[in-house]
Symmetry: C2
Subunit: 83 residues, 2 copies
Amino acid sequence: MKFLAAINVMPLKEILDPQGKAVTGSMKNLGLPEIQNVRIGRHITLEIEAETETLACKKVELACKNLLANMIMENFTFQLKII
Amino acid sequence: MKFLAAINVMPLKEILDPQGKAVTGSMKNLGLPEIQNVRIGRHITLEIEAETETLACKKVELACKNLLANMIMENFTFQLKII
């Protein structure tokens, strides 16, 4: 079976997100001061071939932990769907 | 009311994603050749104060078009929830 994984990698809440802070500041200049607390991470989509959803899940987790996310500074969540 | 917006900004399908291509290649070295077609974009969360959901929606759209996404090379999707 082929699955599509949609992964979100975000900086941990405890960690300062300078890019997000800069964008929050820019929102004011854009006339949108009601936008606050912007945080910026990565959205990753990938296709994975696996026999079962459990197996696909494990492989995506492995890919996240070893390559896609820096577990010291970031956490990740993902969803799988069959394609 | 206060809303939390979760925005995904992704490179258009027609556009080459060199970062995604590089990661797809690395998956092989990681022992995960079953992962293919990696595409990498941005996941952005922000808080927005607005009277109605429709108004919040319009403001997030404005922020995306004017600052968060490059509409020539990227598209965006978002979801709002009340917090």
